[in-house]
């Protein structure tokens, strides 16, 4: 790793990762439970039309949803790690996703449709954000342990509520509720998650130079002229919003938000001017590949992408962790 980051290196790396992501998107469009020759898209006539239908109406939306959700989760994780100054923090640790789950499960239990379920998930996430803010907002210490403890306690409480809702659910609804919790991209919207990802990434990038300083500790950041307390809540809100959007659109997909920023940090260093956009692209890439596997491993049966992500993600995470311990 060079001694410091230059704009040239930053652009080169981001260009490279973007190219990889584009290739993965093409792969995701070409591969599915029925393999279609991509060249047919250009043909006129009925055969070409059928191929276009599958690719543009089925695979493209799902591909874009995977890109948006993967990017949002990696962004949320990266910000959460800076916020808690812990390289192994997960975007789910502060209870935002737990609140979303409770909202979504409650809506499913009441027999609501997809739109209402998403809305309820968003409201649940918002409720936890407000509660964390109210309970931990006045903590002005240097260690800021109250934020972590409040979030973790709230996450545990939401977990208990989710279990309660599942145990009360009639058999007919249980399957749908469990599938929501597993994380699935087949019905995920892509339009607003993608737009939100762009907006949140721009805001996070705007803060990147000062967040670099904040990662060194609150007192050092104060000494360098930052308003650390306001900034912390800005980062918390950005991270919670990204996490809530991802969970609302695709359910609980674990480990993208933890592993991608962590692995890229080891490869590229901590400078967030590079790490934030690289993590978003990397998260999109990883979730997209996991979704391709989820669609093809047991085709024609489709697996929930959250399960595939966990099955692959956990061993990779443990391997990274043990390598870190050895180093």
């Amino acid at each position: 790793m060079p001694a410091h980051l230059t704009p040239r290196r930053c652009l080169l790396i981001l260009g490279g990762v973007s190219l990889l992501l584009l290739l993965a998107m093409l792969l995701s469009l070409a591969i599915g439970s029925s393999s279609l020759p991509l060249g047919e898209v250009l043909h006129s006539g009925e055969a070409g039309q059928a191929v276009r239908d599958v690719i543009f109406n089925l695979r493209l939306p799902r591909t874009l949803a995977a890109v948006a959700v993967g990017g949002l989760l990696a962004l949320a994780g990266c910000l959460q790690q800076v916020l808690l100054r812990n390289p192994l923090a997960d975007p789910y640790v502060l209870g935002t996703s737990g609140g979303a789950s409770v909202g979504a499960l409650l809506a499913l239990l009441l027999g609501a449709g997809l739109l209402l379920v998403n809305l309820a998930a968003a409201l649940g996430a918002l409720a936890t954000i407000v509660i964390v803010f109210l309970l931990a907002g006045q903590d002005h210490s240097a260690t800021q342990s109250r934020l972590l403890l409040t979030g973790v306690a709230l996450a545990a409480f939401c977990g208990a509520l989710s279990s309660l809702l599942l145990s009360m659910a009639p058999d007919g609804l249980l399957r749908g509720m469990v599938f929501w919790l597993l994380g699935d991209l087949s019905a995920a919207p892509w339009q607003w998650p993608l737009l939100a990802l762009l907006g949140l990434l721009l805001m996070a990038l705007w803060l990147a130079p000062v967040l670099n300083v904040m990662g060194m500790g609150l007192q050092s950041a104060h000494s360098l002229g930052l308003n650390v307390h306001t900034l912390r809540w800005g980062v918390y809100l950005l991270s919670a919003a990204a996490c809530a959007l991802a969970v609302t659109s695709a359910g609980m997909i674990g480990f993208v938000g933890l592993i991608v920023p962590h692995a890229l940090r080891l490869l590229l260093g901590q400078d967030l001017r590079l790490l934030l956009p690289a993590a978003v692209l990397g998260g999109a890439l990883v979730l997209l590949l996991a979704d391709v596997l989820a669609r093809t491993l047991l085709a024609p049966q489709q697996l929930p992408v959250g399960v595939v992500m966990g099955l692959i993600g956990v061993p990779v995470f443990l391997w990274q962790l043990s390598r870190r311990a050895a180093a």
Binding site: M1, H4, M216, Q219, L224, G225, L226
Partner: protein, 253 residues
Amino acid sequence: MTLACRNLALSRGGRQLLESLNWQLAAGECWLILGENGSGKSTLLATLAGWLKPEAGEVSLAGVPLAQLPRRQRAQELAWLVQQDEQPFPQTALERVLSGRQPWLQGWQWESPADVQLARQQLARLDLAMLEARDLGSLSGGERRRVALAAALAQQTPWLLLDEPLSQLDLRHQQQALAVLREECRQGRGLVMVTHDPNHAWAFATHALLLHGDGRWQAGPCGEVLTEAALSALYHHPVRLLRDGGRACFVPG
């Protein structure tokens, strides 16, 4: 430009550490803050840096209360080296020192070649030139401490507030760092340093502030304040001044 405390009172955990401190520091003065563990040395430094709010009274810089000074301007005037060094994320020594340029950069403005050169100079002054690309996590405690000092120097502020900058350094690097600080003073910077070694006074300090930890304090030029009697009372342990030719040294009695 003067740094001043007016009627400052500090307390921590229900203990009154400092009462009605009236203290004037002029540019080019180098102050040692001495006192027992828990006597409020770091608390006072954090208050001077604007991190802690005083219980009563105020700190002002060139007549402007610190609380009214815009943060960025404060960071261009005061550099604060904190006692604890946390490094949860990978960062190279050069990146850490470059972070000292933050108050002088606008938004996304990238560090200029002049910034990088300045940062490298500070590393070289503290014998760290060879380590610039090393991750801080792989450095020893004393090396990390010198990197943090280099970062504070790179901030290029008229005032340096240093909390035990030399505590983990070996003999040679302590002398080297003291020489660097002496040079900074000679260039007109004001320096406030928390330390446990009154002998640092001989190296570069002009003044000393003694904190007794019960509200009492004593400030003045080293020659007046640093006496056997005063230090024995401060540390609740006999302290003797040994002379060897032109040199003098405080030792525990």
